[in-house]
């Protein structure tokens, strides 16, 4: 093939970056979910066809492809469905302390939430652990209104 560069000090690079600024609207179902979250409540959407509940709610059922108009408050607490101890930040540096990232599911509800778990002994983190949310004092209507989850007291 063609000749190759052999000397490293002959190599030049231009470093560039691209920053984007966006706003992400929540939509009808998202507004419903996050407004309720500001009241420290959780809502699920109910599919009129299969009658299953979904968190986070959407205005359509992704299986039946029908419109969802009914939103139901969920009073039960979710359980840990899966968990991991995350050691790296977004620049792939070691975190000072690993984060416990959890996938939470409510019984008899489709979907769930990804979030963080605290106030727990590592040995106690397991599938099925029932957890409760710890909310920010002044919720703003986003997923970080939940500061973290902890085992139900």
């Amino acid at each position: 093939m063609f000749e190759k560069i052999e000397k490293f000090d002959k190599i030049r690079v231009w470093k560039g970056e691209k920053t984007g600024w966006h706003r992400y609207t929540y939509g009808i179902a998202g507004e419903m979910f996050f407004r309720k979250l500001m009241e420290k409540k959780f809502v699920a959407g109910k599919c009129p066809e299969c009658e299953r509940l979904f968190i986070p709610p959407r205005i359509y059922c992704e299986d039946c492809f029908v419109e969802i108009k009914e939103f139901v408050e969920i009073k039960e607490l979710p359980r840990v469905y899966s968990f991991t101890f995350l050691f790296k930040d977004l620049e792939d540096n070691l975190l000072k302390e690993p984060e416990i990232v959890v996938f939470l599911k409510w019984d008899n509800i489709e979907g769930g939430l990804i979030h963080r778990l605290k106030e727990v002994n590592i040995e106690d983190v397991n599938f099925g652990l029932v957890v409760e949310p710890v909310f920010k004092e002044k919720p703003e209507g986003n997923i970080n209104d939940i500061l973290y989850w902890r085992p139900k007291k």
């Binding site: 929540y26 992704e62 899966s82 977004l90 620049e91 996938f103 990804i114």
Partner: protein
């Protein structure tokens, strides 16, 4: 058009952890020159070109505009697919099957070493409202899935370590591989935790490189190539983008894509009718999960079969004779083209030291990586 479609040329570059001495264009040019030489054609003979790229991986907006020149495709029909390599291969097959095109060219490359903070890009693919604001390194998703998959199926971290040891060692015999190594299962198990149970050595490291593949309809292929490799079946699909809706155990995208490809290829019993496979192993556990959800092993049995040597290069059903993504390097959406390249070499009988004897049919299966649940399957054969 009822004629089959065949691969008649393959071109590659050496896969490397860094490639500071060449631009992405020069890598593609090198692979293209090799592919055209291999197929015995000139770019002017090509009717249509398909490339794969993702703007954020390239660091350039509207990257598809940067495709034609280094492929000899200026003023020719070209389009870019922002999807996995096997979906792009399916696009080439479909274009030829229309009867309007005789020869198609497929290009995929990776300049991963140019990406300074790859996890930021993966994070940008997470749901901007429900997941991304949490600020986690998106590798957490592999950690969550590995945890649930291992517990539900009974496969173990030891089996995952075995996948890594097998693929790194197999890569020693692959001259284009970026990460060949003799490492032990204990090395994998004691490597630094990244998103426990996922550890550093469970993760395929990234590589730079390019592949170009020339396809033609059967009558043209027979005229041009002494060893055409036929595309017997293709399948591709996407599972839900909503992470919360997945079970983090199954890879239904591959079950669906495989069923589509098996049906077209007339395959009823994959393990009997297919001789070897190149299967996505971007994370060690993914090789086991993908083997099971392709129907090659029953649920929960892949780890034990691996332990018995079933998937070794000299085993009953070799998986990743190239060394896979773990041994060769992860090339984002182009990783599966390395699988196609390996399968073509094997089916031609040109795989030298790592040649599997008497092979007729190969399976290639891909996954698009975090946070996707998309994949593709291609069945190739050398049968006339």
């Amino acid at each position: 058009m009822n004629e089959r479609v065949a691969i008649i040329g393959v071109g590659y570059t050496q896969l490397r952890p860094v490639s500071s001495d060449v631009s992405f264009r020069e890598m593609i040019y090198e692979a293209a020159v090799r592919a055209y030489e291999d197929a015995g054609i000139e770019p002017r003979d090509v009717d249509t070109f398909v490339a794969i790229s993702e703007d954020y991986h390239e660091g350039t907006a509207i990257f598809d505009e940067y495709v034609p020149d280094q492929l000899g495709a200026v003023l020719k029909p070209v389009h870019t697919i922002t999807q996995d390599g096997l979906t792009a291969l399916a696009s080439c097959v479909m274009q030829i099957k229309t009867g309007l095109f005789n020869i198609a060219v497929l290009e995929g490359h990776s300049k991963a070493s140019n990406i300074l903070y790859p996890s930021h890009i993966d994070a940008f693919a997470l749901d901007p409202v429900t997941v991304r604001p949490l600020g986690f390194n998106p590798v957490f998703l592999a950690g969550l899935e590995m945890q649930r998959f291992l517990v539900e199926t009974g496969n173990t971290e030891y089996h995952c370590g075995l996948v890594v040891a097998k693929n790194r060692a197999t890569a020693i015999k692959n001259p284009i591989a970026a990460y060949p190594a003799e490492i032990s299962i204990e090395d994998v198990l004691s490597s630094n935790p990244v998103s426990f149970p996922l550890k550093e050595l469970d993760i395929a490291r990234k590589a730079d490189g390019a592949f170009v593949i020339v396809l033609a309809k059967e009558s043209v292929a027979k005229r041009l190539s002494p060893y055409p490799v036929y595309v017997e079946g293709v399948g591709w699909l996407q599972d839900t983008p909503n992470i919360e809706m997945r079970d983090l155990v199954s890879s239904l995208y591959l079950t669906g894509a495989a069923n589509m490809a098996y049906r077209e290829a007339g395959i009823r019993n994959p393990i009997r009718e297919i001789d070897f496979a190149e299967i996505d192993d971007t994370f060690s556990y993914k090789e086991l999960q993908h083997i099971e959800f392709l129907g090659i092993a029953r649920p929960g049995e892949s780890g034990e079969m691996l332990e018995e040597g079933y998937f070794d290069i000299d085993g009953e059903f070799p998986v990743n004779p190239s060394g896979g993504n773990i041994g060769c390097g992860y090339m984002y959406d182009s990783s599966s083209l390395r699988g196609v390249y390996e399968a073509v070499l094997q089916l031609r009988g040109f795989a030298a030291e790592r040649q599997i004897p008497d092979v007729e049919t190969a399976l290639i299966a891909s996954w698009r990586g975090i946070p996707t649940a998309s994949g593709g399957v291609v069945i190739l054969s050398n049968r006339e």
